[in-house]
Subunit: 164 residues, 8 copies
């Protein structure tokens, strides 16, 4: 059966210090998937300073942070609200509470959630992984998951699977 294809909006949340978004974007492009990718501003310094740069500087760093966090939320909240699927990446550095916060938002909004993190964080991620629909270790797995979700394409040239 031939079916017209919906363009899926996929929001890539979380870590901004490695090239995982590029890897996913490249994979999505190479596979020709019907996917529109979005994400937060990934320039760390801009993300930290945007509020003060645009609205005026603050002497108190707490309010400096507040202004930028709120300004970033204009983008984040809008794009998560309009996403079909949310992917959240947890890396090695920082507390990354904003990533977990995004995951909580997405879950409460009923968005299918995909997590991406090293197995060493499995225990710390257990509550979020428990509501995720796929727990990936590599960007390639995310692309394969998206290819399967949108196009029903499965990379069967892998070794036979043991279970069942």
């Amino acid at each position: 059966m031939k079916m017209n294809k919906k363009i899926w909006s996929v929001y890539l949340s979380g870590e901004i210090h490695s090239d995982w978004r590029d890897q996913i974007a490249e994979g999505v492009k190479r596979a020709g998937l019907p996917i529109h990718l979005d994400g937060p501003n990934c320039v760390h310094a801009d993300s930290d300073d945007c509020g003060s740069v645009i609205l005026g500087s603050e002497k108190n760093v707490f309010w400096h942070d507040r202004k930028s966090a709120a300004m970033n939320a204009i983008r984040t909240r809008t794009l998560i609200a309009s996403a079909d699927v949310v992917v959240v990446r947890f890396g090695e550095k920082f507390k990354q509470w904003n990533a977990a916060f995004d995951a909580g938002n997405a879950a409460a909004l009923g968005k299918p959630l995909i997590t991406l993190h090293s197995p060493e964080y499995n225990h710390a991620m257990k509550e979020i992984d428990a509501v995720a629909l796929a727990v990936c270790e590599t960007p390639k797995q995310v692309v394969q998951t998206l290819a399967y979700a949108t196009n029903a394409e499965l990379p069967r040239n892998k070794k036979p699977i043991s279970a069942e």
Copy 2:
């Protein structure tokens, strides 16, 4: 009165072992209906194994199943959420609890529901049929229902109806 036409998204849930989706797709195409069709991945083996193929195999078949069921849900949940109408087909084989689950989801989301099943399941289907807006026995009836819903076309070349 001439009216512009909305493109309707219709999700075809349920049985994946007969060609009912192809029959509906063909009927929709032949009638030139303003309809975009979607459905789950219909390759049974892929649907069963996708989780392990992409994310790694599991020794325990319960978790092998869990991984694939969750992965399929990325597609299912997204497409049901964005559908205008949901058609659910119940066939002869298997428990088909996932089809009934999809119907429950669609009903709770306020989506118009069309069921498609043999009359021999009428009693077992009574709770779901009671919230459905049409109970069909054939794919042809589904196409006619969709033609009527979207284009107000009724196949009046049928025999006169008895009631009223």
Copy 3:
């Protein structure tokens, strides 16, 4: 200030025995309004018989009616849910409880409601008019209301207004 225009979906509910929909469609077209019009199936006989014609006839007229009412609801519920504005027309004939039911649906969904009826029904319509954002007597007023809502066009060539 120049602004891009949103295409508005306007659903025309209610009476199907006069040409009020055509008048509105013509007015909308003539004024070049950015509006997409929808409505129920307006062929009374088809609307009464669709369920039995497609799904099989019923001896009992109550169930004959039920089948058709449910089938019509596939269209009605979908289009009201995706409408920006709902116009409900009350005419001279019949009980028209389905029109009032549509109005109740639209109101509960937060859709701006416009009513269209003769002043002689003002008292009977008072509960519905009280939630409507415009109470019109003529299709022309509906078109002017839609022109104002979508394009901010006001027919000022009318006589000066008395109040204020």
Copy 4:
């Protein structure tokens, strides 16, 4: 199995010129059902004049009606929103568009709906009956339906039923 009982809120909408609410209230009381009944103000004159009596009279009857309709809606909207089940009665007199409007509201809010009307209105009521979960002809049937819904009590001393 013994279960604690929830107190159900049942809103009785519609006709205010016969004693059907009293009959239901009496039946509910006699059967000791765990039900809290509510309804609109049933004094027709007060319902018509409340707005002007409290807020000041209007020369224009259209606005006289508007004030009262809106004031009645404070009660109606609040109680329908907090109801578990909505019963809507359609009688012989008046247009009763407000009753159908209440039914549309209740349906859009996902409230189980019970209709109560003479069979002579079956055709006119077909769209509302199609979303109702029970179509009753007598207040006694409404009480029996509520007894079954809340207490699982069925009046089996009736004659054996023919179907099945």
Copy 5:
């Protein structure tokens, strides 16, 4: 820390031919859990006939079934909507599509879901189990799960667990 206790509403959906509800009710009572239990009418014959007994018999068994299914839904829909947690039991007999439908409803409404079924249905249940927060094989496990959820009581007199 001492905390006041919320009374939890737990709805027991599904199979009505074994005493699993009684076992859970007894366990809940013995453990003194702050839980209010609800469920469907469990008398199969009444559940099948309620519509015709109260509203009048039907010659056509399809509509006989429809009337009763809708009438049962007054109870089912109301209690699932007001439940905190939904438990769904799948047994050996019948298609049980209504149980899976209830599960789909509960999931779409965001209710925590607990499933109860024999491991032999694990594969057929995989889509529903994937959204459930606990998959139980015995009523005792359901009671222990509820005791843990409401009172944070864990039966640690069990053998030491192997993992971790």
Copy 6:
């Protein structure tokens, strides 16, 4: 990483007596931002009289106002409901309660809110500013905020910021 761009809908609410909307529109155009702008009818006289001009004049100025306010709400409510972001401007004249009302609507609907007002109103605006994600003093700041939110563009040619 290259990403396709979503077209954002931004609603410009509030003051209609200065050219702030034009300044924002011009800034958005010059920067080539992927933004669709909307707003209320900005012709004060039309906004005051629309109801009476289209639907008939009123002797009582209270109802004259009511008719126009409701008619304007068709546009306002529809466009706020479909907006991604809402900007609310408070100027020097009038009570501007409708602007604050729009802000309350937007906040309750979860729309990211940007306020635009002179610092002299900071104290009076504190409750609304507390839910806003950016508090701007100039249209230029609004454009920069929108450029950052949609395109992640930050005007770094500004002086270095002091905090952090």
Copy 7:
């Protein structure tokens, strides 16, 4: 018909510099209405300073205000969300944008709204009055409106009304 009475939650928003809340509370008490009243903290100085008093003082008055506004919102948002009816009072002093903001919140949440203000603000209040279900000039009218809404009591010892 005798009916059990629901206890209504009524939130009194707006002006905090006159005794209108006391007048309403007294009226509600004297009439024995089934109403639970709530409102914001009405001590102006505390409302202005609460954030800094509890969380630490701020040098910048903008952030001093922010802290208090947010802290007051804990109460305001919670109580408006759990109210059945919201009354909003507009007085002579200050901008009162927070009152209009509360009204916008209540309207978007579907809460029946009652406004209370002098007729001299009719024009400025027209957008909010247009969604209100009663526009009162005195606390006594508010009490009478609440008495009518909750108890169907109408003070008919007034002069005969002119219209109709």
Copy 8:
């Protein structure tokens, strides 16, 4: 003005290794606040093992974690959904992504959020603090915030505040 008091449900999320919940409970009790406190299971070992203890052990620690995380979510999701206010505590140990996830959930559900953490985490917490209505450093401040929100009590015996 005397007002009846609503009992507020406050959910205490996050860190389970210090006695902050006890401090808040004691403060709430001492102040006689109209507050009902809830929180997760705070016994770390039980929280980690509950799934396997009740439902059967798992060889694979990933699924051992999954079972427990899901089981804990029955309590967490239910209580956050029924809370009026959510307090989230971030401590020194662990990743605490579940706490940030709870915060994201609460925010998306529109619950007023209070955060409790050391100033050293201000930067890492900036996105969550930006949606919080109060950012506290001590349990005492949380109690004072709750006393102000529920009872309008402000500890004015503090030093005069500098700003304003």
